[in-house]
Amino acid sequence: MLLKIAWRNLLRNSGRTLLTVLGAACALLTFVMLRTVVSSWNSGAEYAAKDRLGTRHKVSFVIQLPKKYVDDIRAVPGVKQATWANWFGARDPRQPNEFFANMAVDAPSFLEVMDELVLPDDQKKAWLEDKKGAIVGDALAKKLGVKVGDKITLEGSIYPGDWEFNIRGIYTASRRSLDRSQFLFHWSYMNDSLPEARRDEIGWVMIRVSNVAQSAQIAQSIDRVFEERDTQTVTMSERQLQASFMAMFSALLKALDIVSVIILAIMMMVLGNTIAMGVRERTREYGVLRAIGFSPWHIRSFVLGEAAVLGLFAGVAGIGLAYPVVDRGLGQWLEENMGGWFPYFRVEPSTMVTTVVIAIGLSALASLLPVLQAGRISVTDALRRVG
C-alpha cells in the first residue's frame, strides 16, 4: 500500500514526472557516454596481454633504440620471442584528416608475439612474400575503403616521401588487446629505403615471456643488460606501457571525470527540485497522515520511497537512451573511425548497473532535505494549509 501511494504520487503530476525523468535520463546518458569514453580509452591497457612486455628508450617513446638490442633481449632468460616496430606516422593523401596508426613491423616475429592477430593463411603467406605488402585491420579497411589486392600510397611525415603498399591481408583480432584499425607493413621495406644514417633504428620492442609470474624479474633483467650502454631502456608490462602512453592524456581524462560529477550534480538538483515540490504540495496530506497516527518516520519513508522510485525510473530511462545511442550509434562509428583511440566503445554492464544505482542513490540524497522537512511537519500547521 505504501509503495502504491509512492507510485501514484509520482503519476499524480505525470507531465512533471515525465520531464524530470527525461531530464535526469539525458544527464545520465551524458554521464554514461563520458564514462564509456574513459573506460574505452583505458581499455587498451585493461585488455593488454599479460604475457607481453614492452621495452622502450628510458627517456621517451620518441627516442629510438638500436635494432641490435632485439637480439640481446632475445638472449635474456625467460624471453620466448621478441619483435619490434617503428611508428611510421604516414597518412592517406586521399583522406588527409583521417588519423590511423601505421607501423613498420618485423612480420614473422610480430605474428608470433601478437598471437591474437587473426589473418587467413593465404593472406599471411602473401604478406610475408611481398616486401611492399601490408595488412590492415578490418575496421581501418572499412574506413579507408580498401580490400585485399588494392594498392595504396601513404604520404610519410617522419619518413618523408610517397610510400607504395600492396594490401595483402585484412586482419581481425581474437582478443581486445589488439587494435583493429592499424596499418602494418614490413620494417625491412622501410629500413632498406632509408639513408644509411637512419637505418637499423627501432621504436620499441615487444616481448613475449614464457612465464607470466616472472614478468617483473625478466623486465629487470632486460634493463640490466643495457644499463651500462649509451642507450638505456625501460621495460614494463604491456599494460603499464599502455598506461604510460595514456598518462599523456591524464588531464583530459580528469576533465571528463569532473564533467561527469557536474552532470550528476545537475541531475541531483533536478530530482531534488521535483521531490521538494511534491512534498510542498502534499504538506496537508502528510499532516492528515500524521494526525491519524503515522509517525514522522513513516512520512520520511514515503518521501524517500518516492525519491528512490523516481531515481530508478531516471536510471532505467538513462540506460534505455544510452544503449541505442552509444552501442548502436556512436560506439560503432567510433570503433570504425577512431578504433585506435576507442577499440571497444560499448556500454559495459557494470556501467549500466552503476548508472542505475547512482541515479537511485543521488535521488535519495537529493530528497534528504525534503525528507527532513516532511518529518518535521507540524500536524496542526499542515492541516491549516489550503490546497
Partner: protein, 291 residues
C-alpha cells in the same frame, strides 16, 4: 517500505496487558453487522475496564478501555499560548472541561475563540502550554510526539471539514490507511474497510477516487476512515462546513448513529446551530474560555 514494515503501536498497559488482539476484534464491522457481537464487545470492554481500574496508573500508550462512571476527557486549567514573532497570543486561558464517555458534544464560538485549538489538544495533535489534559486515560501533556502518534492511532478518529482524503487512493484504500498501523493482515484490512464503508452507506463507491465522489460522499469516506480502527473518540472539525444542507443532515444523522448505536464519544466543532442541535451538549467558547 512494505506493509509489514508498519509496526502496530504498542498496546500494553503498565501491568503488561496485551490489548492489540482484543482491539482487533472490536472494529465497527462485527458490531454493525451483528449487534449481538457488539454487545459482547461492550461487555468485554466493561470487564477490561474493571481490570484496568485496579491499577491507578494510566496506560502510557494504548487503546482506551472504558471505565463507567469516569470521565473520558478531563482538561484542567489548560492554557495554550502561541507566539507570533515576539508577541505571545493566549488562545486558551485556564480552561477546565470534563466530557463523559458516550457524549456527543458540540463546541461553538466565534472565529479565534480557541475551538480548533481545544480540539487539537484533546486529539493529541498539540500539547497545552500549562495545565493537564487527560484523555482516555492518558496524560497528553507528558507524552512524546511518538507516544501522541500512537495515542491518536488507537484512540482518535478524525473528521475534517475538507475531508482530507488522499486523492491518489480509492475510497476503500483511504479507509484502509489507519489499519496500516496495526498488524491486521492485508485481506482482513480490506474486509474491515469495506465493512466501514457499508456502515456509512457507500458500499457501491468503494473503488471510486475522491474526485469521483460528491462532497457528502467524500465526508462519508472520511467518517469510515475515522471509525475503521474503532477509536474511542471521534473528533470532528466543522464536518458539515463544506456541505449543502441535505448532505450535512445526512452526515449529522450518521454521526448521531455512531454515537447512539456504536457508543462513540463525539466532539464536534461547528459554526452551524442546526448541527449543534444534534449534539447532546453544546458548549460555547469565547476568547479562550468556556461561557
Amino acid at each position: 517500505m512494505s506493509d509489514s514494515d508498519v509496526k502496530e503501536p504498542e498496546a500494553t498497559t503498565e501491568d503488561g496487558d496485551a490489548k492489540g488482539d482484543a482491539r482487533d476484534n472490536e472494529s465497527p464491522a462485527p458490531k454493525g453487522d451483528a449487534p449481538g457481537e457488539g454487545a459482547k464487545a461492550d461487555a468485554a470492554k466493561a470487564d477490561a475496564a474493571k481490570d484496568s481500574a485496579k491499577s491507578d496508573a494510566p496506560p502510557k500508550s494504548g487503546p482506551y478501555r472504558p471505565t463507567p462512571g469516569k470521565p473520558l476527557i478531563e482538561m484542567s486549567n489548560v492554557t495554550k499560548t502561541f507566539h507570533k514573532g515576539k508577541e505571545p497570543l493566549t488562545v486558551l486561558d485556564g480552561l477546565t472541561l470534563t466530557i463523559a464517555e458516550g457524549a456527543f458534544e458540540a463546541l461553538m464560538g466565534p472565529s479565534g475563540s480557541g475551538k480548533s485549538t481545544l480540539l487539537n489538544l484533546i486529539a493529541g495533535l498539540d500539547r497545552p502550554t500549562s495545565g493537564t489534559a487527560r484523555v482516555a486515560g492518558h496524560n497528553l501533556e507528558k507524552m512524546s510526539d511518538g507516544e501522541l502518534a500512537k495515542f491518536r492511532a488507537q484512540n482518535i478518529g478524525f473528521i475534517f471539514q475538507a475531508y482530507n482524503l488522499l486523492p491518489v487512493l480509492t475510497a476503500v484504500e483511504n479507509v484502509e490507511l489507519p489499519l496500516l498501523l496495526t498488524k491486521v493482515p492485508s485481506g482482513e484490512r480490506r474486509k474491515r474497510a469495506e465493512t466501514a464503508l457499508r456502515v456509512v452507506g457507500l458500499s457501491d463507491r468503494m473503488g471510486h477516487y475522491p474526485r469521483q465522489l460528491s462532497g457528502g460522499q467524500e465526508q462519508r469516506v472520511a467518517i469510515a476512515r475515522a471509525i475503521v480502527n474503532d477509536p474511542t473518540i471521534l473528533v470532528c472539525d466543522e464536518p458539515t462546513g463544506d456541505l449543502d444542507r441535505k448532505s450535512a443532515d445526512d452526515i449529522l444523522a450518521l454521526l448521531t448513529k455512531l454515537n447512539q448505536d456504536f457508543k462513540k464519544t463525539i466532539l464536534m466543532v461547528t459554526h452551524d446551530p442546526s448541527a449543534a442541535e444534534r449534539a447532546t451538549t453544546t458548549r460555547h467558547l469565547n476568547k479562550g474560555r468556556l461561557d
